[in-house]
């Protein structure tokens, strides 16, 4: 097989920026340097582009097994590759849920032919019911490092305490929480605030998130377990995480692009494409999430890619399932909203999209420096390409993107997964 040379780009990774070409042979990067000779290799043009480690999305719903009408591992991985991601972490709220080693193994098996790497998060509790612990040791043995009941919050404080205690014995394990106190958000469909009052839609208060994070941090302090806040969305929770980090606790957090860009005002159209949990919040919360990303309180950007079959979103707001697509737009929104307006540097944004999430979820081989000897997981980004989001032209099986009609600046040109060019000139190759 021919070597591949990525020519004419600017390499940006955790070590810095440099003008360099990248030569790939097999699955490996063999050379990185300016003006590499081509001689017989396949050339991928990266003129004007940024060459970065493949992006890593640690909160993705691939819906397989059980909800393949919305997405499959294959279609989800294609969407990921088009978004520049070379690794994703699949959330365990499948049907059946990923609370059992055999089901996890079957997901990993099906993911062998995917267009990106797939790791799996396992459940904290059996059936995600919030009562009995899932077999975390068995799951750990098949590679699971992150445990979450995502979709649901573990509301029972005693169960949460046990989970932290048990997981702290598993080297490198992380407990990740969907922080929304179940009693406070029961019956709610959007952020409780000015807009929910006006629209007469039952609300999910911000306190539901901060109460859970405060409780979990107290338990982390006691047990020493590593803790990660999923899709953080409130000023209150961001403040708690900031203080916890200052204290030296092993806490990390992620935010979705919609939570640093869109507000609850979007719900005024009653279009359920803007419905998700935790909900889009008010301006003060959005600003706090942005600040948290910039100052490092929030380590990672994760899309919470949540496909829903189109007919399920063609329902009244209160009846539609929550969730938005994100894999194909995450990078572009980050560039458009954070990097281009100068809110943070390109390197910082790429860190949030690539090497920091890889570190949190313990995903080896991804996000690392672009250097000879590393596995060839790369994305080539054209930072100035302006494009409009069209739900009918996304690779996902579903269409529930909140960015329909928006013009974004920045797009993936090529994606290399393990040395294979899975996306070339913006087109998936399989």
């Amino acid at each position: 097989m021919n070597d591949i040379v990525i020519r004419g780009g600017r390499v940006v990774d955790v070590t810095g920026e440099r003008t360099a070409d990248v030569r790939i042979a097999g699955c490996e990067i063999v050379e990185v340097g300016p003006d590499l000779p081509v001689d017989g290799a396949r050339e991928l043009d990266a003129g004007g582009c940024v060459v970065a480690p493949g992006l890593v999305d640690i909160q993705v719903h691939l819906r397989e097994p059980g909800r393949e009408e919305a997405e499959t591992i294959e279609t989800g991985s294609r969407a990921a590759a088009l978004g520049g991601f070379t690794a994703v972490q699949a959330m365990p709220n499948t049907v059946p849920p990923l609370d059992d080693a055999a089901v996890v193994r079957s997901v990993l098996d099906r993911a062998r032919t995917a267009l990106c790497g797939v790791v799996v998060a396992g459940c904290i509790t059996k059936g995600r019911a919030g009562r009995e612990l899932a077999p975390m040791g068995e799951l750990y043995d098949v590679g699971v490092r992150v445990f979450t009941d995502d979709g649901d919050c573990v509301g029972d404080s005693r169960v949460m305490q046990r989970a932290f205690e048990y997981a702290s014995a598993l080297e490198g394990a992380v407990i990740a929480q969907h922080a929304e106190d179940p009693a406070l958000v029961h019956g709610g469909h959007m952020h409780e605030g000015e807009w929910s009052s006006r629209l007469g839609i039952p609300g999910r208060p911000a306190e539901a998130e901060s109460i859970v994070v405060a409780r979990d941090l107290d338990l982390v302090r006691r047990t020493g377990c590593r803790y990660h806040v999923l899709h953080i969305s409130t000023a209150g929770a961001v403040g708690l995480v900031r203080a916890a980090k200052a204290e030296g606790l092993a806490v990390t957090a992620e935010a979705t692009p919609q939570h640093f860009t869109l507000t609850d005002a979007e719900c005024a159209s009653f279009d359920p494409v803007f419905k998700m949990n935790p909900p889009l919040r008010g301006t003060a919360d959005v600003d706090a999430v942005r600040s948290g990303l910039v100052d490092g309180t929030i380590d990672a950007i994760a899309s919470d890619h949540a496909p829903h079959a189109p007919e399920t979103k063609e329902q009244p707001f209160e009846e539609a399932p929550p969730g938005m697509l994100g894999l194909e737009t995450s990078l572009a929104v980050a560039l458009t909203e954070l990097v281009h307006p100068g809110v943070c540097s390109l390197t910082h944004a790429l860190g949030a999209l690539s090497w920091r999430p890889a570190a949190i979820a313990r995903i080896d081989g991804h996000g690392g420096p672009v250097e000879a000897g590393a596995r060839a997981h790369l994305c080539v980004i054209d930072p100035t390409c302006v494009w409009e989001v069209d739900p009918d032209r996304l690779a996902s099986r579903s269409k529930n993107t909140p960015w329909t009609g928006r013009k974004l600046t920045g797009r993936v040109r090529h994606t290399m997964f393990d040395g294979e060019p899975v996306v070339v000139d913006g087109e998936a190759q399989r």
Partner: protein, 313 residues
């Protein structure tokens, strides 16, 4: 004007006043021996009620029939709304039968707005979850105008009760606000909306203070089921602190108006004697409902209320 009536929030003062003026003409029609005009002959109006409400549905159907339209009725508990069929499929099926307007009542806020995206027919919101009940808001201000003249600016109106979960309250606040009334909301803290940002109102949890100089008292129905949500401790306590009792009514101004969108819980939010007193305009609200709904249907289906439509000769 517009294709749909989904929210009072979509209307401005001119829109509301035009509809109320049109309602005057239809009021006169409803008082005739033959209360019917052929204005919308040939049009088809469907009432699609996912929530049980005989009174509102009958009011709309009466209005439609008085305009000579044909009326079809799809209601839960009636023949046609099957639980398994999605809202989208239901309305598309209805539209395929050739209809001009759908009057929708649904338990979810925004359902009429979704429907308006899916069909070409005009959509009229007859109540969507806790969001709005636009024709109720219109008929309430129409009723006030019949008693107080067309200028309601500065009129002191107290709306009392379950504001938080009330679509009637939201529509009333918007309609009264557009016409310049001075609205005060009275409720226990658990029944006030989380945020009143942008609402043209004052609020208080003290009913007695609010009633001091008020011109109009609008009572909202308290839903007994809310007691289970720990929203208020008991009906007795609710009545003693927030009910329009005979004692409270006696302290009101002599020309005060008492209103209620119905159905009433006599003895709870309103004492039976007060509901039947001369100050109560509750039955007028109901009869005005037909005229107002005729105005809405005519406006949406007859090609709009124009200026000087042109005399025929």
């Amino acid at each position: 004007m517009k294709r749909h009536l989904l929210s009072i929030a979509d209307l401005d003062r001119t829109d509301v006043e035009a509809l109320l003026e049109l309602a005057d003409s239809f009021s006169e029609v409803t008082q005739r021996d033959i209360p019917k005009v052929p204005a919308l002959r040939g049009k088809v109006v469907v009432s699609l009620f996912y929530e049980d409400s005989t009174r509102t549905r009958i009011s709309f159907e009466t209005a439609a029939k008085r305009l000579s339209t044909d009326v079809m009725n799809f209601s839960v508990g009636g023949a046609s709304v099957s639980k398994g069929e999605s809202l989208l499929d239901t309305v598309r099926t209805i539209e395929a039968m050739g209809i001009d307007a759908i009057v929708v009542r649904h338990q979810s806020a925004g359902a009429p707005h979704r429907i308006a995206q899916w069909v070409d027919a005009s959509v009229i919101n007859a109540g969507d979850g806790c969001h709005e009940h636009p024709t109720q808001g219109l008929l309430d201000v129409y009723t006030l105008r019949r008693y107080r003249g067309n200028d309601l600016s500065g009129l002191r109106v107290a709306i009392v009760g379950d504001i938080k979960y009330s679509r009637v309250a939201r529509s009333d606040v918007l309609a009264l606000g557009l016409l310049g009334a001075d609205v005060r909301l009275v409720a226990p803290p658990t029944l006030l909306p989380e945020s009143l940002e942008g609402w043209p109102v004052t609020t208080t949890t003290d009913l007695d203070a609010a009633l001091d100089d008020v011109d109009v008292v609008m009572l909202l129905r308290i839903q007994r089921e809310r007691q289970r949500d720990a929203v208020f401790p008991s009906l007795r306590e609710y009545t003693s602190r927030y009910g329009l009792t005979v004692e409270r009514a006696a302290r009101l101004k002599p020309d005060v108006l008492v209103m209620h969108p119905g159905p009433m819980n006599r003895g709870i939010e309103i004492a039976a004697e007060v509901a039947d007193s001369p100050a109560s305009v509750i039955t007028e609200q109901v009869s005005n409902g037909v005229a107002v709904r005729m105005a809405v249907l005519y406006h949406l289906l007859a090609g709009g209320v124009g200026t000087a439509g042109g005399d025929q000769r």
